[in-house]
């Protein structure tokens, strides 16, 4: 099958790739670009383990063709770590509040939460629960994830106020 030439931005870096039209974005990321943080859990866009941020929206990269990402700006869990190696408040809060166990849903969950907190910087518990309803976790029972996201929001809001 003829391959298409793609240019996109992944985790703040310009990348080029050749992709068959049927190649899924998750496979481009995982197998061609070596970005294995996002996982495949269901193939049907229900579990959210493959969630990445594309042009400012959470997408399930198992249900997006790589060619649809032509010119896109993509952020994965790997891209949430700062250049100096410091972690995003969400990454720290998930550890602090035991918001993960096996870790398989975690990259998608944190990436979704990253976008949620930009859509709604101060979400209530109910808003968080609805905001992550597209991401399944089989280990934690969500309570600690909700707490982690809430704590990260508070920290980010506090930091914002302190900077003003």
């Amino acid at each position: 099958m003829a391959k298409m030439h793609l240019e996109l931005r992944v985790n703040k870096k310009e990348v080029e790739a050749l992709a068959e039209p049927r190649l899924l974005l998750i496979h481009l990321l995982r197998e061609q670009l070596g970005i294995t943080g996002p996982h495949i859990g269901c193939d049907t866009s229900h579990c959210g383990a493959c969630t990445v941020d594309m042009n400012g929206k959470s997408v399930k990269s198992c249900t997006v063709f790589a060619v649809q990402a032509q010119g896109a700006d993509i952020i994965t869990i790997e891209g949430l770590v700062d250049g100096d190696g410091s972690l995003h408040p969400l990454q720290e809060a998930f550890r602090e509040h035991h918001g993960l166990q096996c870790g398989f849903c975690t990259p998608g969950m944190i990436t979704r939460a990253y976008r949620l907190l930009q859509e709604n910087p101060n979400p209530s518990e109910t808003e968080i629960r609805h905001g992550i309803a597209g991401n399944l976790c089989r280990c934690t029972g969500y309570l600690t994830i909700v707490r982690a996201i809430r704590a990260a929001a508070e920290r980010m809001n506090g930091a914002g106020e302190a900077a003003e």
Binding site: L23, I40, R95, T106, N135, G141
Partner: protein, 807 residues
């Protein structure tokens, strides 16, 4: 004391040992997307495998045409049973003493069964090739309902067994019969039932469900043709057992096989077994000489690997008029699917189902289990429970509620009257188990007080009155469950899998500068072993947990162990860790005595050092002793500071707990809201409370899924109708309530640190609490039992059947 030595308390805190809410070391990489799961592995030249699977529940395979597939560019091989026959690998032994087709041999026996294995350059080409393979089937009548398995006219499912009158677990009485297992006093129980003032009888079905971890099963097989070594990376909950099985099946000597479990994305029992994908990947790698990866997709996972439960239980419970249980009888019809691939200890074809007398002092009991074949997937795994313990707990916890209704005694009160008393431990149950320790009444009372049970019942009474007056269309239900688990399999004298005793192990090396590495025979799948086992060791040998690396899952480096399932890691490998730590400490003590020029007996252990009794300033820290072990040991002593322990537990452990669930049901829609769920767990000594709470939350959420929505829904032809996450219920954050956790602590008397294990308790106790709550909501209307799962449709149907439909 004003010496420069820090207080014991300050030094204890630095260790982050037992009882500390230590943050998990695993999370640093997981939160950055730097986990290393099997599908993350990539090797030069690696190929991808994919299966052609049966669309039918039962059919004869007339022919397989693989010509078009083989011609497809990028396809390297297509394997069928015919290709595996010369290697005698077209069938494989199961953990339960049966055999299972690796690739369909003349017949397919369940939808999704493996028929051919394609190997190609990438997964897209493999999928194309799967589509190009033409299989000609002759459809046969499917047998889906286990109650029909042993009918006279039931079709023969297993041609390979049809004339065999006995199997791995004794006589077979029908061509679709697997085994009969019996335990207890048949005559005594019959007498108790005949003489009882009251007997309650109920049919209780625990539906077929699936563990469905977020990561599916998979592996990469790599045969090095130069040196004859096979390496197999995969989602294995028991890598050493896989190595032994792989050696026995393939004929490759065991020392030339290396099994590695990388990070595992949840197991819950799904990843204990050996699946055809592993065998096919190995064969393909041997044939092609390059690494071959196989990772199932979600539909394959739900269709083919490891269902759980499917127990059809008939119970009779006898009691005096005041609710004292005098006898219990249970017959189970166990649907094992097309091959008996249960993961149970060899001598227990129905697992530890005989824990079904639960937490109650029942004088006599009798259990029989008949396993049967059907045209469904094999499995029967312990889905987040010890072997068949969830089924047993659900059975007794529903039966005691049914009895309570019959006697008009409150469900909490009837439990209290029958709970085994603290002074009865160690307690020998009617079905032969020796419960190690418990304080059940305290746990029940604490839980009832915590939820203000009396007020809840008052509120329910008012709710029912208001409902009767037509003022509300919601009914309130209160579910109580009290469970006893049996975990930590197990003593070699009665527990083995394929002849391998179910001990576990830990090997410790203390480095000269006072840090250490410990390796275990278990495998974490999210339980946080790298965090908690370091805590056990920190308390035992006085080295801070942060200076102890825990490694698992690589058979080249880890000592032999039976793996992680059945809540056995803390009871067995955790015990081995403590015992190996004590060997380290004993040697360190001798070195300390030598350095301090005193007798061993003149020393006492003080958190992280040995000190001379009465002269506390004379001491040697573990860091000092570690270095001395490498350069200044007593004459005649070997240098170094290492130890290994292979721990054969003297008994199982028996965690227990009391759960209360409150639901509000909208009877016009069947929507059931979990208003409150309170869980009190007693898992003995608590190693890391944060991780314990996390395990309880997770187990309760899986219990919620099972009780309120999960069912593997087969139609009469053997089609699995809900083999994707669109239809198979996994709760989201929206349906999942905020859990309340609590605890009591009753240490296990036989475990070195008194720990009992906790990961599975919430699933075992949780399912019945949810189900009891739903049943309780309708109890005043005469309902005694309605089957799980209590999804909206079924709850609405129940309301309809009770005449509550909207006018």
């Amino acid at each position: 004391m004003t010496s420069e030595i820090e207080s014991s308390q300050a030094r204890t805190q630095k260790l982050e040992g037992l009882g500390t809410r230590r943050k998990r070391v695993e999370d640093i990489r997981f939160t950055q997307g730097k986990g290393n799961y099997v599908d993350d592995l990539k090797f030069p030249g690696m190929l991808f495998g994919g299966f052609v699977r049966s669309p039918y529940g039962h059919a004869r395979v007339k022919s397989i045409n693989k010509e078009a597939a083989i011609k497809l560019p990028g396809v390297k091989a297509v394997l069928t049973a015919e290709d595996l026959k010369p290697l005698k690998l077209h069938w494989m032994p199961t953990l339960a003493g049966d055999v299972q087709a690796v690739l369909a041999d003349e017949k397919v026996l369940f939808q999704g069964q493996e028929v051919a294995f394609v190997v190609a350059e990438d997964r897209y080409i493999a999928a194309d090739a799967v589509d190009l393979i033409e299989v000609d089937y002759e459809e046969l009548p499917a047998l889906v309902d286990p109650t029909r398995s042993m009918a006279g006219d039931a079709p023969v499912l297993r041609d390979d067994l049809k004339d065999k009158t006995s199997g791995a677990h004794g006589p077979r009485k029908h061509h679709n019969h697997v085994f009969t297992w019996e335990v207890g006093d048949a005559a005594g129980t019959a007498r108790a039932l005949a003489q009882a003032a009251v007997v309650a009888k109920e049919q209780i079905v625990y539906q077929r469900v699936h563990p469905c971890p977020l990561e599916t099963c998979g592996c990469v097989a790599s045969m090095n043709k130069v040196d004859g070594h096979l390496t197999l990376w995969g989602t294995f909950q028991a890598p050493h057992a896989v190595r032994t099985v792989a050696s026995l099946i393939s004929g490759i000597p065991e020392h030339k096989i290396r099994i590695v479990s990388p990070d595992i994305g949840g197991g819950f029992g799904n990843k204990v077994g050996v699946y055809p994908g592993y065998i096919c990947a190995i064969v393909a790698s041997i044939v092609l000489g390059v690494p071959v990866k196989w990772v199932e997709d979600r539909m394959e996972n739900l269709q083919a690997t490891a269902f759980a439960r499917d127990y059809h239980m008939t119970g009779e419970i006898a009691a005096s008029p005041d609710g004292r249980i005098t006898g219990l009888r249970c017959h189970v019809l166990a649907d094992h699917g097309a091959f008996d691939a249960c993961a149970d200890p060899t001598k227990y074809p129905a697992g530890f189902f005989s824990i079904c007398t639960g937490s109650y002092d029942i004088p006599v009991a009798h259990v029989t289990v008949d396993g049967v074949y059907t045209n469904k997937a094999p499995g029967g795994v312990a889905y987040r429970c010890s072997f068949r313990v969830t089924e047993a707990s659900y059975f007794i916890e529903r039966m005691i509620d049914v009895l309570a209704r019959k006697l008009a005694i409150d469900p909490a009160e009837i439990r209290r009257r029958n709970l085994i008393r603290k002074e009865q431990f160690p307690y020998r149950s009617a079905l032969g188990w020796e419960y190690d320790s418990g304080d059940y009444v305290t746990a029940l009372d604490k839980s009832l007080a915590a939820v203000d049970y009396a007020s809840l019942r008052d509120e329910q009474r008012r709710n029912r009155e208001a409902f009767a007056r037509g003022e509300t269309r919601r009914l309130m239900g209160i579910g109580v469950s009290f469970f006893t688990e049996i975990v930590g399999a197990g003593p070699i004298k009665n527990c083995d899998i394929l002849g391998l005793g179910m001990f576990d192990s830990c090997e410790i090396r203390v480095h000269p500068t006072g840090s250490a590495i410990a390796r275990l025979g278990t495998v974490s799948q999210g339980q946080g072993h790298a965090t908690t086992f370091a805590q056990i060791l920190a308390s035992e040998i006085g080295i801070p947990a942060e200076n102890i690396t825990i490694e698992e899952g690589d058979t080249v480096t880890a000592p032999y162990g039976l793996g992680t399932y059945g809540s056995r890691s803390t009871p067995v490998a955790g015990a081995a860790t403590a015992m190996a730590g004590r060997k380290i400490r004993a040697k360190a003590q001798m070195i300390a005595a030598y350095l301090l020029e005193v007798h061993d007996d003149d020393l006492e252990w003080d958190v992280d050092r040995f000190r001379v009794k009465g002269v506390p300033e004379m001491s040697k820290t573990m860091t000092e002793l570690a270095f001395a072990a490498y350069n200044n040991v007593p004459p005649g002593m070997e240098p170094g500071l290492e130890a290994v322990s292979y721990y054969d537990p003297p008994n199982m452990t028996y965690p227990f707990g009391a759960y209360v669930c409150v639901v509000d049901i909208d009877i016009d829609t069947g929507v059931t809201e979990i208003r409150r769920f309170y869980a009190l767990d007693d898992c003995g000594t608590r190693i890391n409370p944060m991780i314990i709470e996390g395990q309880v939350h997770g187990g309760l959420t899986e219990a919620l899924a099972i009780a309120m929505g999960q069912e593997m829904d087969y139609d009469e032809y053997g089609n699995l109708k809900n083999a994707s996450l669109l239809d198979f219920f996994l709760p989201t954050a929206v349906e999942t309530p905020s859990w309340e956790t609590d605890y009591t602590t009753t240490p296990s008397p036989h475990h070195p640190i008194g720990a009992k294990g906790v990961g599975e308790s919430p699933n075992v106790g949780g399912v019945s609490a949810f189900s009891n709550a739903v049943n309780d909501a309708f109890a005043h209307l005469g309902l005694t039992h309605t089957a799980m799962p209590h999804d909206h449709w079924r709850v609405w149907k129940t309301a309809q059947s009770l005449g509550l439909a909207a006018g």
